[in-house]
Subunit: 132 residues, 2 copies
């Protein structure tokens, strides 16, 4: 399925700007990135886009599941093209994230979900500190 179809399937109009973003993000390689990182890549690819559009686009992509946002308390939002269920190592000094595949971790016992709610995703973050 090409990127235009992916956008349409997701219910998004394949505008010029969204296609530029899709061509960068949906290239089959997973990455963690900020809005600013993406805007830089857009420039590098010979295109340009206002930061408002970058944010709009990321919000839409996220809402329809084309990308994810990682739960970290960093001051900049970090997105992830890996939408499979997985977890992260977080280097707190640098902010760098490293994927932990689902098979590498297992939650043996889970708490009871509070009344009236559903489990809407579990995220495990293992914070890393440099040795010594």
């Amino acid at each position: 399925m090409n990127n235009k179809e992916k956008l349409r399937n997701a219910g998004l109009r394949p505008t010029k700007q969204r296609m530029i973003v899709a061509n960068i993000l949906l290239d089959g390689f997973n990455r963690h990135f900020t809005a600013e990182n993406l805007q830089d890549e857009i420039y590098t690819s010979g295109n340009s886009m206002s930061i408002a559009t970058v944010y709009n686009c990321l919000k839409k992509f996220k809402n329809c599941g084309l990308i994810k946002q990682v739960e970290t308390s960093k001051d900049t939002a970090i997105f992830d093209t890996n939408t499979d269920y997985h977890h992260h190592f977080l280097n707190e000094e640098t902010g760098e994230l490293i994927d932990i595949e689902n098979e590498e971790i297992s939650l043996h016992k889970l708490p009871e979900i509070p009344q009236g709610y559903l489990n809407n995703g579990i995220e495990v973050i293992i914070k890393l500190k440099r040795q010594n």
Copy 2:
């Protein structure tokens, strides 16, 4: 141990402002709160404090382990007076956090920590969605 001693033990001068904060936060009841929440409580308690001092104080308290900061991608930093090892449910709609005690969850298999790094804490977040 009284709050003055707690501050001294933590290596912090027990200033008037830090005592006001300690008296609110270290009352034996756990809570999740933002800087603004705390400033409101300070006013409610009949005191006042500049927002810069609230932030300075939270940073110091956090660095010496009197409180923790929760890993969430919300736009406002959320702090926790529960410094025991534990996890959280996160209601993504409201931002509300609910503690998950360590005994209620068990990580059975853990990934190998990358070369040169140490495990510096694991945080599990179970995102909640309202049923229906």
